[in-house]
Symmetry: C2
């Protein structure tokens, strides 16, 4: 098996130590551009680092004959075999294959729907009380920003996170997570985030556009449907620190108001 060449880095070749002979060892963040989303795959944890969708009224229209029962979860051949998430890893793991970009957001064609079943759009999620319940309502909340609240463009980053917990006996912070598969292959996130940027026309704002931004971080665990969404509202800066990611550029952050100031941040169960 011949490995993919690593991502070329412009400054690389001219440097003293690292040469073409010794290429960049990575980590390579495989960037996968699908029709209905973009995804950045984490080769160490074997799930995406984030998945980005752009939701509009148009992308939510169901195409004729598009049918979820025709879609199958599938391994992603764009990832080298060595780092790939496998269907077998999930079998009897106790976890759902949780969509990052939800299937329900990608019904325009059978192809866009099928893409959401690639394991590069999937991470292990608690099924009952989370993926099949609270998290699903949260996904619906994102769609309602377009269908019920008149936002024009909604950009959503969805992804896993790993949070430390204080051990009460030694007062130290530890991160602990399961790895599923045998041999162990896919990490089970302790949390999942969504960062939502919703825009609509507003002539009173700079560039005539209102930017509403919200970041939410939920435990990968049963959550009661009565828990207010705002319980999981976190400063974007804190989410960036814990994930190591940088969502949106500073200009967008500076020009945004909090999503829950212009939207009722309420889930419909």
């Amino acid at each position: 098996l011949r490995l993919k060449p690593p991502v070329p880095l412009p400054a690389w070749k001219s440097q003293p130590i690292v040469t073409q002979k010794i290429p960049n060892a990575g980590p390579i963040a495989d960037l996968l551009q699908r029709k209905a989303y973009s995804s950045s795959f984490n080769r160490q944890l074997r799930h995406p680092s984030w998945v980005l969708e752009h939701i509009t009224k148009e992308t939510l229209i169901r195409g004729e004959g598009v049918d979820r029962s025709k879609s199958r979860f599938q391994e992603d051949k764009d990832i080298p075999e060595k780092f790939r998430a496998k269907l077998l890893d999930y079998v009897r793991s106790g976890y759902d294959r949780g969509h990052m970009a939800p299937a329900a957001d990608a019904k325009t064609t059978q192809e866009t729907l099928n893409e959401t079943f690639l394991l590069t759009n999937i991470a292990p999620q608690v099924g009952n009380g989370f993926n099949r319940d609270y998290w699903a309502h949260f996904e619906e909340f994102c769609r309602r920003l377009v269908t019920n609240e008149e936002f024009k463009d909604v950009y959503v980053f969805t992804g896993p996170a790993y949070l430390p917990k204080k051990d009460e006996t030694d007062q130290k912070f530890y991160v602990k997570y399961e790895i599923i598969g045998n041999p162990p292959n896919i990490a089970v996130p302790t949390h999942f985030f969504k960062v939502i940027l919703a825009t609509k026309d507003d002539p009173s704002k700079p560039e005539g556009e209102l930017h509403a931004l919200g970041a939410f971080l939920l435990p990968n665990d049963r959550i009661s449907n009565t828990t207010p969404l705002q319980t999981f509202d976190v400063p974007l800066d804190a989410l960036e620190r814990v994930t190591g990611l940088t969502f949106f550029d500073q200009a967008i952050k500076d020009s945004s108001i909090h999503l829950c100031k212009v939207s009722k941040c309420i889930l419909v169960a």
Copy 2:
């Protein structure tokens, strides 16, 4: 504080969803090119993913007046403040600030030596029995490949790793690691690796060069000096799987023999 722009990706702009408005969220693997090493920083774990050195007889010569006591550990301003490892994080953590590229490999000038004290070359290591003992002897072993075993060029990747352990009560695999700092900031690796490529002239080999390759994975823990180095010898493929990294290209892997076949893989304590 204005954030650094994310790494530009050639295919990025022309794609349907991700636009210049929504740049690549990362993870950005900050590539730091120093005089004595190259390093790739992990913004989530706040330590390098790997550090690469190229050791030769020349790089091991101590420059006049070069003195370790003049070097100070220092935060690396090349990393955005939000993702930076801090000197304070290590204070009273119980862990050493462990060099990935060893200070002793970079004595040619005070500048090269000082560079190894940047926190982008550092990760938390157990002090007694590891950083100050077994690991230090392992570092010396790498230098001896050049000084005592006549290898011409020695390339060493050094970095942290996180290994799962089987829980004997539920038979599941878990990764668990501490995070030091308050608020918690820097992850404490469960293991450290070195991947060593040592080359020398050999007219009987393709391109006239013998390639010797070894991968070693050691627990971040006390190790008795009587433990043979070969205890920690791992298949390079297994190390790549667990770290998500890709060391060297396939041609180099294919043309290499195991380091311990041409070198006595023995540490001198």
